[in-house]
Amino acid sequence: MSAERITRREMLKRLIVAPVGAAALATLPVREGSAAALQPYYEPYFVAVLWEGRTRCDSLWRSLKGDVVPVLPTVQGTTPYDRLYWTGYALGSAPVNVNMRVWARAVDHNGVPLGNGWRAIGQATIQTPPQRWFRVEIPEGHWDEYRIEVRSATPRLVYSRVIASQGYWKE
């Protein structure tokens, strides 16, 4: 690999002097893998932010939204998504020891759940040193609604961002 630093003026001069080279660029074959790797961001349609915000964790099982009402989902409309990612950051000077569990359910055409309760997707304990990032992947996709709950014996604030990915296919 070689690179050189040039000014904008020099760059313009080179483009003007060598228009044939510029035209040839359009037909160069590129590797698909490189294309994906270099894509700086995905379109929002591929990856959607489902929720972001702050949760005040305490000894009760709370949704990331803060409620303790088990019937309420944390995120809805998640049918198209293969998997969800929850990235969080817990404030406080003590080591993080937060219990979490994830529920899911399906709804009918009117948005009414097919039945009572939820399906347990999984549960875990998030243990990190203080003020560290953590990330939880929820691989069981295409459910319509998820409820993500947390609790902590030591009250603390958790900042969260829940995103969902669809993946993509080539035409």
Binding site: R8, M11, L28, L38, F46, P113, L114, E171
Partner: protein, 156 residues
């Protein structure tokens, strides 16, 4: 003569495996998922009863599924009575007529879950689907009738 491109605001780089051209995946589309079926089935001891309640073995539960790589069957069962299920599939011709009678059995087994629990079954469990028609049958093998509410999502 090496081909160069503007890697950032003021840097030219040679095209190479390490520094390929910065292109976007323009010819790609997101993978949609479509709801194909929402149905409530009374699970009985009848043989060959599908999610639509039909015992006519040549009738598909789902048709026109060729574009879907897989189906995801979500269900909520009101009863925990022992139940078996079968997932069948086949291909059709251009007129929508099956290439032959009968089906390929993709999966068979005991329907997981107790009373008032949720379940999720991927069809097929491994590999790709792309079959034209599916037939999903449930049969209770003990206990009493109960209702099974299902939703099937097709994933491309």
């Amino acid at each position: 003569m090496p081909v160069r491109f503007l890697r950032n605001a003021s840097e030219l780089a040679d095209v190479s495996w390490e520094t390929p051209l910065p292109v976007q995946v323009a010819n790609a589309k997101p993978v949609p998922a479509d709801t194909l079926l929402v149905a409530t089935t009374t699970v009985t001891t009848d043989a060959n009863r599908d999610l639509l309640g039909s015992t006519s073995t040549e009738l598909p539960t789902l048709d026109g599924c060729m574009q879907y790589r897989k189906l995801v069957w979500f269900y909520f069962r009101a009863g925990g009575d022992s139940t078996t299920y079968r997932v069948l599939a086949r291909a059709t011709d251009h007129n929508g007529a099956p290439l032959g009678t009968g089906w390929i059995t993709l999966a068979t087994g005991t329907l997981p879950g107790e009373a008032n629990t949720w379940g999720r079954i991927e069809i097929p469990s491994a590999g790709d689907g792309y079959y034209d028609q599916y037939r999903i049958e449930v049969q209770r093998t003990a206990g009493s009738n109960y209702t099974l509410t299902s939703k099937i999502v097709g994933v491309r």
